[in-house]
Structure formats: C-alpha cells, structure tokens
C-alpha cells in the first residue's frame, strides 16, 4: 500500500528510505510500549507485595496509608 506524507500541504509518496524508517519506528514503538506495560505491571506487583509485608508486620491499612503520604 502506498504511504503518503504531506509536505507543506502537498501530498507525496514516501520514498523507500522513508518507508524503511517507518517500519523501524513501528518496531521501536512496539518494544517501548511493551517495556512500559511491563514496568506498570511490576510497579503494581511491587506495591501489593510491599503492602502485604507491612501488614505482616502488624500495620493497619490506615497506618500504611499514613506512612505513604
């Protein structure tokens, strides 16, 4: 499928080099998104684990909230 770029209001067909760059960008964005999703999951997991450990030490939910703020 032809890929278009609009330069100053004029539509032109993307060159082979530009299409190759686009494919590279897509691969990078996909990898970045995956890394970002993994980081979010890890953060949530770490948060739950820390909460559990604090409770195991005898802290109440209110006390845990208090030390977080």
């Amino acid at each position: 499928m032809v890929q278009i770029k609009n330069v100053d209001g004029v539509e032109i067909e993307m060159s082979i080099k530009e299409i190759t760059q686009r494919e590279t960008d897509i691969v990078k964005v996909t990898a970045d998104k995956k890394a970002e999703d993994n980081a979010i999951v890890k953060k949530e997991t770490d948060k739950a684990s820390a909460n559990d450990k604090l409770k195991a030490l005898g802290l109440t939910d209110d006390e845990i909230e208090a030390i977080k703020s």
Partner: protein, 254 residues
C-alpha cells in the same frame, strides 16, 4: 465680477467638448453636483461620488501600501504591535497519510507556532503514545538518538503525572495514556529555529481525552542534543495513519 445667466451651456456641436477655463485657471462651481457631473475642481459633495475607487493619496498623507493602515488623523502608518502570520495549512486527506512536514523555517521569524486542530489517528482504541515529531535540518529529517523531552500531564479524574526521557529517536507528543482517535489539539512553539549558538528548547501544550474519556491537558518541553538550525518539523504516526480532515497550521510570529 460679470455674470451670465442662461439655462444651459453646451459645446458648439452635439457630443462635442465644452471647455471652461484654461490650464492654471481656478474654476469654482458653487452649486450642488448632479449625476454625470464632469470634473470640476471644488464644490462636489462626497455623496455625489458613486463610482470608481478613490486614490489613496486623496485619503491621507504618507505611503499607502499593503502593510500600512489609514489612521484617524488621515495618515498612513505601519500597524502597531505584533502579528501572527499564517504561513502554511496542512489538511490531511485520504487514508494513507502517516506523516506531515512543515518546511521553510528560517530567520524570517524569531518564533514559529504550529497548531494541531482535532488531529486524529485511524486506529480505534489506541492508547499508546504513537504521535511523534522530529526536526528537519539541512541534512534532512533527523532520526538519531538525540531527542530529550519532559512533560507534565493533568488528568481530571485519574491524577497528574510526568513523563520524559533522554536520547530518544523522536519526541512522543503525548504520554502513553491518550485516546488519540478522539482528537488531539495542541500548540507547538519553536523559538529562533535558525540560531546555532546553543541548543533550542521548544515547548507545546495539548488537550485530549484519556482512555476513560477524562479530560487531559499537558505541557512539555523538548530539545535536540545539538545546535543545528531547524529548517522544518516532521510529525508522524507510528503504526497507523492520520485521519482525513485533521488540520495543522504553521504560523510566524512577529
């Protein structure tokens, strides 16, 4: 002063020429001008001028041009204050446009602005940061790992946050949780793109909904890790295309 009283004066032959006075004479006409009045020197009511365009020199002193305006004291003068001049408009059409470029940035203006109006992408349900920008220099669009960015986002229902990174291959225009297909509105500022003395620090603000539909706004700064003069800005979407009807405009600010 002698006086002649007649009902009409005309040329000697029909459709001929009637001359009153001679070059250097002053001819005064005291009465009220009627329709089809010839060319006297005084005594014409402004309301009698019903056709043609008044010469600018008859309206005021000074130089009349496309950049001057007529003041109340009947003097042509430059417009005061600054101005925002529209340079280029890009309206996306079709379904295959994945990038847009504004070129021609130079030292004509110390400040350029780029407005995105209801910019959308074709991918439904998208929540990733998939709109980016890169600079264009004399060497073309720069794709190396030389872009830094930092931003602050404010979300109505889900709290605030920051995003940023260094040494990236492009500048992501949004944090990761933006519902891009709903429309992205933004204003970008590029200050002094031609200077090569130091790095350029550019900024923008935006408005868009987050995936839940909550209102989101944000402001971000970005910079390229070199002093190259910017000759243009390249925007692209990764993985899909811009939606037809998306509009971007480049302005020069004086």
């Amino acid at each position: 002063m002698s006086e002649i009283k007649v009902d009409a004066i005309g040329p000697r032959v029909d459709s001929g020429t009637l001359t009153i006075g001679a070059a250097g004479d002053t001819v005064n006409i005291a009465g009220t001008a009627g329709t089809g009045f010839p060319t006297p020197t005084t005594g014409i009511a402004a309301s009698a001028i019903t056709t043609g365009t008044m010469a600018t020199a008859r309206l005021g002193s000074g130089t009349a041009s496309s950049s001057t305006f007529l003041r109340g004291d009947q003097t042509y003068a430059e417009a005061g204050g600054g101005a925002v001049n529209l340079i280029t408009t890009i309206t996306v059409s079709g379904t295959s446009t994945s990038s847009i470029e504004f070129t021609g940035l130079d030292n004509s203006y110390k400040m350029y602005m780029i407005d995105f109006t209801n910019f959308k992408q074709t991918r439904a349900g998208s929540t990733g940061a998939s709109m980016y920008l890169r600079i264009i220099t004399s060497g073309g669009t720069q794709t190396g790992s030389n872009y830094d960015h930092a931003g602050l986002r404010i979300i109505g229902s889900a709290g605030n946050g920051t995003w940023g990174n260094t040494g990236q291959t492009a500048v992501p225009l949004t944090p990761s949780n933006v519902k891009i297909e709903e429309g992205f509105n933004a204003r970008f500022f590029i200050a002094d793109p031609s200077q090569t003395t130091n790095r350029k620090y550019c900024w923008y603000n935006f408005a868009a909904p987050d995936p839940s539909g909550a209102l989101m706004t944000g402001v971000a700064v970005w910079s390229y890790q070199a002093n190259d003069a910017f000759t243009g800005i390249h925007y692209y979407t990764s993985g899909d295309n811009f939606t037809a009807g998306s509009v971007a405009k480049l302005y020069g600010v004086t």
